[in-house]
Amino acid sequence: MALTVLHRKLARDLWRIRAQALAIASVVAVGVMVQVMMSGLSDTLTDTRDAYFERHRLAQIFEPVTRAPNAMMEKVSALPGVLAAEGRVSGYGRVEGDGGEPVRAQILSLPGPAGLNGILMKAGRMPVAGRSDEVVLLDSFATARGVALGDHIGVTVEGRHLRLRVVGLARAPEFLFMPAPGEFFPLDGRFAVIWMERKAAAAVLDLEGAFNEALVLTTRARPSEAVLADLDRLLGPYGGGAGFLQDQQTSARFINEELTQLKRSSLFLPPIFLAVAAFLLNVTITRIVQAERREIGLMKAFGHGGTEIGGHYLELAFLIALAGAALGCLLGLMAGRALTGVYMEFYKFPYLVFSLRPGPFASGIAFSLIAAALGAAIALRTVFRLTPAEAMSPPAPPDFTHGRTGILSLMARPLDQPGRMILRQITRQPIRSLGTIAGVSAGLALNMAMLMIYAGFDHTMAVTFGFADRSDAVVAFTRPVSRDVVHEIAHLPGVLSAEPQRSVPVLFRNGLITHRGELTGLPEGATLSRALTPDLDPITPPARGVVLSRGLAERLGLQPGDPISAKVTGGRRRDLTLPVAAISDTLLGAPAYMRLDALTRVIGEPDRITSVAIRTTGKPSAALLHALRERPGVAGVSIKSDTFEAFKKIADEGAGQMRFIFGAIAFVLSFGIVYNAARNAFAERTHELASLRVLGFTRGEVALVLAGEIAVMVAIALPLGTWLGWSLAKLIAIAFSNELYRISVPFDLPSIAVAVLVVIGAMLASILMLRRALDRVNMVAALKARD
């Protein structure tokens, strides 16, 4: 019987405090939502990647060679620790397009019997055996360039013009994220992958009876590194020796980096939200229990036990927490799904392996319940200490004697009485006030930090495209050419200036740490492509030594003056040891620069260059692109404005959604905290406020006393939150920076302004809602109440 009555009381209590309960449940929901969303996203993408890589047998070791006879593959397969191995042929060509810029293409032999580096057919079929003109094309390229099944494409390989028929469209785990050689950002239409029958590919690339890349899957029995070392030794005589593991493969490396970041954010963001939710639950439950002391005394007087009464209030806390957590799980699932779609499109995963691990749900719910229980327990303890008689008599006035001396009295001196009430109310329960301030600061900081990170992306783009790379286009050649070509290109229509560049694929090494990258040679006094200091001043590479980008230097653990070893993996293979001359603050990519003449000298190819950066009048003209297409040595042209647009689109789309989500989250958080603080203050002091009305204070003046308390705490939280947000942004920037891009966070005033406005908006909304409640206060009833 008692149980039923208590439950009815519970339902009515919940209804009475519904607005507040909703505010708390929302904060709990947001915390659990972020937890479920981020871990779900991270788990799903990780599982999808693993499944995709495994099903299509992405090689664990890649060993490029110059040319090795097919028979060598038997020896490769026989190496200890090799599970499966396959040799393939790979080369580069140029797609003769539709009158636009020349586009680079990678020609690959189709996977062999072992099925390593498999492809996923999206449409069409495999080429028929013996039909050397039938090919499978990377579907993202086909979509970007409007190539359909059955279309013919013109491809120039090694000076030969081929007319190929597209019979299939495919995706491959190897090409999830694939910038054209020499570029750092992938554009679907800028790089084609063409799979041909092995024989046809070998014929085109002059590799009959041979392969130029060995792919290996290893057994678990032996570490891949050991197998790689054997393979390097075995294929060294054939131009090998610079093999690398899957995690160094461009596409896999990028995906891995992204997933690592996602994992990191899923670990550090949710606890902040859950902590804030815990605090809110705690404060509110405490308030409710205190307000119910008379009822508790009465229940005790009637003979209800402590467990029964405690359970009653615990249930109240649990119900709010559970409702919030359940809502959070649901929202998290929905948001996770929506975001997964965005990521899937960006990474070109052909399918998704949905991952719903119970962990994030369970921990989110458990955390919320524990927070609720703690809040209730602390409050109940003080009430249970009272005898029923004490509990039923009005509480003594709260003690404010602390405010009479010291700094507080000095601060209070110039204030009027309502001002003193505000100040003393805030300082009487410093922990609670600090919690409110901390919570609001946290909401502000989170929002601001995320906004700043996105402003950081804009900054990265501005620095990269405005200072580091000032060219309008880069013309790449199929093979190293004489530096004299610069003069010819400089005289093409619309070209204002031209600068030679040389890139050399290398394997950097410092001790056990390796990095597959490029050495880029820049001419003395380069103006189009430059290494920069943190102040954006150009760094001129010295006659000897390498200028490393900060990301690369950090990855390899190198400082200026240290020697770096670089094994040239293309053309004439050489082992170089060079001093690190300086560190540049490149934000995109992880380049390493040398002076052009020094680089070409050390690799034994004096004055041979691989690309020319040009500055043009406006966007490269059709006439210029036509002239470049006419030059058979040109492998491709990358147009800067296209890259910029693509980068911007991704930043705007992905970041735009995240900006909105975090803005909404910050609002919920700030509103939840501020509204609760205001609501609690209001509930605790209804009769004080009513007294003020009786004494002749207007509604506005009374509202000001309540709003003042909130406003003061928010005012303290604003600078604190801004500082926290700035620190958090810098921390996130460090955590999110990798060798592919570095985020530099500018002290972005618009980000701060938006974050601050969200908090102020939440505060005003809370005050407006309370103003309505305040107007409804029955003065007489409030004053006759005993507490």
Partner: protein, 234 residues
């Protein structure tokens, strides 16, 4: 002399239809200035409702009430606030002090917004609390808290002081002390004092006693001789 208050068939009904409660039924009377008036009657007799309407804390359902020339029943919410701010003071059973303000500051809460207030110290002196100016409510006894409430109410030199069960939460000795203070205020400042109480003995100190039953004014008694609060027993 014009009376402090005048009412004509003043009524107050809570609720509607069969569930309606007639808290006050057609009360017509005059309360002269400068008197101590005690309103007596059992719970639910309408005395507090009557006090609340005259004090501008509640509104009548029918009838009219005047404060001097001002018709209270016609006043807007804003004007009622001004009326409370300028002309009347209140003392309640449960003191209703601001716990976050000291005795002096509680009084200053009113003197800051009043037109011609007395000094807060002077007001507290009037109730015998000159030595407790900087104490917070938590540091004072119930009687002391109630005297602070009285000081707060009289500090703005109100024309009328409304007291709803001012001794209800106090023991008899402390209660007598509080009544003495109210009597002093009436005597020294000429303030009209209206006291609602259950304690019939309090009637002895009044100039005039109003008996309420079932929402109606049953009887008005004028005391020829008034007892000193110190002599009141209950």
């Amino acid at each position: 002399m014009q009376p402090a208050y005048r009412t004509e068939v003043l009524s107050k009904t809570y609720g509607e239809g069969p569930a309606a409660v007639h808290a006050l039924r057609e009360v017509t009377l005059e309360i002269p200035r400068g008197e101590v008036v005690v309103l007596l009657g059992p719970s639910g007799s309408g005395k507090s409702t009557f006090l609340n309407i005259l004090g501008g804390l509640d509104r009548a359902s029918a009838g009219r009430a005047w404060f001097g020339e001002t018709c209270l029943t016609d006043l807007s919410d804003r004007a009622l606030t001004q009326y409370r701010r300028s002309h009347v003071g209140f003392v309640f059973q449960f003191y209703n002090l601001m716990p976050s303000l000291t005795a002096r500051e509680n009084v200053e809460l009113v003197t800051e917004i009043a037109r011609d207030p007395m000094d807060a110290g002077e007001a507290l002196g009037l109730v015998g609390l000159e030595g407790r100016l900087d104490h917070f409510p938590a540091q004072m006894s119930g009687g002391e808290q109630q005297r602070v409430a009285i000081a707060r109410a009289v500090a703005k030199r109100p024309e009328v002081l409304f007291c709803d069960e001012p001794t209800g939460a106090l023991d008899s000795t402390t209660g007598r002390r509080v009544l003495q203070v109210l009597d002093d205020v009436n005597r020294e400042l000429g303030t009209t004092v209206l006291i609602v109480t259950h304690a019939a003995a309090t009637a002895a100190m009044a100039h005039r006693v109003l008996h309420f039953t079932d929402g109606q004014l049953r009887e008005t008694i004028t005391n020829e001789t008034r007892a000193a609060p110190a002599d009141i027993e209950w």
